[in-house]
Symmetry: C2
Subunit: 530 residues, 2 copies
């Protein structure tokens, strides 16, 4: 019978403190629903009264099937009763089953930041938590600066915990607020707390300032902690919070704990991770533990040949357990072996000694020397592979295009813009010329191309661009620099593919990526086996 | 007298195994020189004979003042003498003071991957290392899969180490090749090895597959390891290697070890981290421990007010020790308090009750609602602040622009492109119209603007664009989506500043960012105090 670890997610509260993170109410609702569906025990939705977004979320939060929604707040102010404290009133007003109150455990903080007596701070902790408990809430106590406080004054730090414990708090959470503690310290200090308060349920709240938030959380678990507070992808202030996406598989697959999440749900953890990235409109970290697209990627020729013998050689778990997959990379270092396994993954059967493999290796090296990056643009690689191997035709030939952007400033100083593009393409034996408008030249070019191609390729109606990224490849010579454009496209079935274009001219690089995106889609539609 | 920990950097060898990483010879030379100047003990330059880049690096490597350059290779093949092994010959041919040989310590690997007897593998390890030592090299033995091997067959794993030790290897490095080991296992197993081979010098080589490479390395140090192998920024295959940038400050500032790096050099660690990112043309991780731009950033109003009382409240070390700085963020959550401290950081003195602060807060909220992100574009914020506060003029007014891109495909299928832009601007009382060509519309627009502005603002000659990034803000409606453009500019003194533009039209968004970049430069030149 595996022991139970309780997961407390603070993505929507502490995670929202991170630079560059700004959740909308819709984001919070979507993430809360996903956390509940995945099987997280507690969802900290925010801080009632702190900002309009959090208030709107608590006012209109999705009904949760499994998770308990928690509201965050502070212990009462000095010199007033808990029942008259406006902050605590806001907290109770949102009617969550669980509330989390942060209070100070570091005497120096009590005196410098809070400017109240140590005794009053202990009363503030006790009164506030007792008030939550008598109001029918499950109370969680976040002991702020617990580890720094313990190092400075262990007796007072423990008294702070005791005050909350005696007031009926269900969880005492030890916070490494500044993120500066090391696993060996956390292990020792938690063990002392566990001994001092044997009947208390302990939690841990770590930050990643020494890149050890995950290790600190697990060290605490080894010393008796049974609740872990963290965030999805480790988002959070400064260097972030403990990353639940890295912690959950380790707890389940390597330490044998029961997290309340089923093995089948665990295969969805990558989706949960990407949902938060999508909501934040940021590219997922390809090197993320367990869920990163590179987490089970193999590039070195040595590894690839060993992999083919036995995957345990270079994989610490089966990627399938976390819904991930093995990835064999194409790169100019790789050569024939990697390209062959990549072709097999694409379902292309070619003999290892087929001379066309040599042509393909040469083509890849030549393109990569120009600045193409096929590791990140699988669709462009597959397209080039199938064309080099002679499996697919060119769907059309470009003869010319023109893109025009005009901007006038009106009387109010607003910019009135117009983008127009014309294309001239040969499709089969017919030459077609079309013109269209758009937001910006690439969008206009896309529109004009579709207008020309749709009559011949109606399948294009199902495809659309979902992301467009531009990077300068050689910043040293920016204005004359080579630019690389990555385009992500999707179809109505949710399939997405990424294509790449490189040129000294950003519009031309965009056109090249667009050409690959369209050709890839047509290839898949005309030859579903591909 | 602090104990010495030796740092072994594998950025140029194991780091180069990562997806998306492809060092040029120039990259390797620049990184090696920086590692040497910073005070790293060992620089593993690559694998002689494995690929042309590594061979070129060893043939023409920068002279190192402090670091020992190391060449990586494998133990000899089965059934031939070490002196006749081509791999070992390649290794000796590059004449490095140190060589690192990887050999297998996991019996199952020996039999499945290597397909030789356990006894022969031990001979391969012993012969190969002895040959390096008799050839006058400092020999390092990387015991591949050591921890998995130890768990499967502790006796054989220790025999592998013993074979290298008796052959005269100076370092025995325990490799967690698959990155699946946990700190508690590493601590226990290293302690056993330390006891079994008391006179051996031990090293550790960890991967980040459970996000614990740093913690595993430090757990090993606590059990007696004195060499750490890692990479800059933790780059490496799959989830990466142990991150030396996170390890070094913790070893020096928190554990009291001597790493051979001076306190003064430690303030350069952020520069070293960014050099590798620049070489890889990737954006630095703002949340990176110690060196990230957000590592000491404060957003929550609560924190900001506490920070003003005492920085220890929310900082685990003084950012100055690692050459970093405190950052107070602007964000619509922040309100007056943060904006005021941000203005103070900019050296703008305004009374807290100045009504213009209210106007500025409103302006920031309005812009951020439109999709502007001032957290990432400090120059655009400062410009808007100074304009809203009435400290600076508008340097010119746009009346209109036009950008034209043409592409023809020549007989060989090459794209022949032309980009041309015209601008009409009012400078002081004069209306100027200019036209220029460029690579792409933004570059042409930039050129035409400079042509119009240079006669009035010669300072512009010193400024140039160094990076240009485009992101779609709302991928769900890609083609009609809002685009955000970030432009990074620099001047001849190496100052860089980032500006932002947002519009439904990518060219217009680019123009807005360009306008801010130019205005910011002129502001700094005309009012250096600003």
């Amino acid at each position: 019978m595996a022991e139970r670890i309780y997961l407390y997610d603070s993505t929507l509260r502490d995670g929202a403190q991170a630079q560059g993170i700004d959740f909308t109410v819709a984001d919070k609702q979507a993430i809360a629903a996903a956390l509940d569906a995945f099987g997280i025990d507690y969802i900290e939705g925010g801080w009632p009264g702190a900002n309009p977004t959090d208030d709107a979320f608590f006012a209109d939060r999705p009904a949760s099937k499994f998770a308990k929604v928690s509201a965050f707040g502070m212990t009462r102010r000095a010199g007033r009763s808990a029942s008259n404290d406006p902050g605590l009133q806001d907290l109770l007003a949102v009617h969550t089953p669980t509330v989390c109150l942060v209070g100070k455990a570091w005497d120096w903080q009590v005196e410098t930041a809070l400017k109240v007596s140590k005794a009053e701070n202990l009363k503030m902790i006790g009164d506030s938590l007792a008030h939550m408990v008598t109001s029918g809430r499950e109370a969680v106590f976040d002991a702020e600066h617990f580890f720094d406080g313990y190092k400075a004054n262990p007796v007072y730090a423990l008294d702070a915990l005791r005050a909350a414990h005696e007031a009926g708090a269900n969880w005492l959470v030890l916070c490494d607020t500044n993120g500066g503690s090391l696993p060996s310290e956390v292990r020792k200090i938690v063990a002392v707390v566990h001994e001092a308060l044997p009947d208390a349920k302990l939690g841990i709240h770590c930050h990643n300032d020494t890149e050890q938030a995950v290790a600190n959380s697990l060290a605490a678990v080894e010393s008796g902690v049974r609740q872990i507070q963290g965030t999805i992808n480790g988002i959070g202030e400064r260097c972030g919070n403990a990353n639940l996406i890295a912690l959950i598989p380790t707890l389940m697959l390597k330490m044998g704990f029961d997290t309340g999440i089923s093995a089948e749900k665990l295969t969805q953890i990558g989706k949960l991770s990407r949902l938060v990235d999508d909501r934040l409109n940021r590219a997922p970290d390809r090197h993320a533990a367990y869920v990163g697209s590179s987490a089970f990627a193999h590039k070195g020729g040595l590894h690839v040949s060993a992999m083919s013998k036995d995957s345990r050689s270079y994989e610490h778990i089966d990627p399938v357990w976390v819904g991930n997959a093995r990835l064999i990379l194409v790169s100019d270092k790789a050569g024939r072996a990697n390209i062959l396994s990549r072709l097999q993954q694409m379902g292309i059967d070619v003999a290892a000694d087929d001379p066309r493999i040599g042509d393909l290796v040469t083509a890849v090296k030549a393109r990569e020397a120009q600045g193409y990056a096929y590791e990140d643009a699988g669709a462009s690689f597959e397209l080039m592979a199938r064309q080099t191997l002679g499996f697919i035709p060119r769907y059309y030939d470009l003869q010319s295009y023109r893109a025009l952007d005009e901007c006038r400033v009106d009387a109010d100083g607003n910019h009135v813009t117009l983008s127009e593009a014309t294309v001239k393409v040969a499709i089969k034996d017919e030459v077609v010329m079309t013109v269209a408008e758009g937001n910006g030249p690439v969008n206009a070019l896309d529109a004009a191309l579709r207008k020309a191609l749709l009559p011949h390729y109606p399948a294009l109606a199902a495809m659309h661009l979902t992301d467009y990224k531009v990077r300068i490849l050689t910043p040293s010579e920016a204005t004359a620099a080579l630019t690389r454009v990555m385009i992500e496209s999707s179809d109505e079935m949710g399939a997405t593919w990424t294509t790449v274009g490189v040129s000294h001219n950003v519009i031309d690089a965009s056109y090249n990526a667009l050409y690959d995106a369209i050709s890839y889609h047509l290839m898949k539609r005309q030859n579903p086996a591909a």
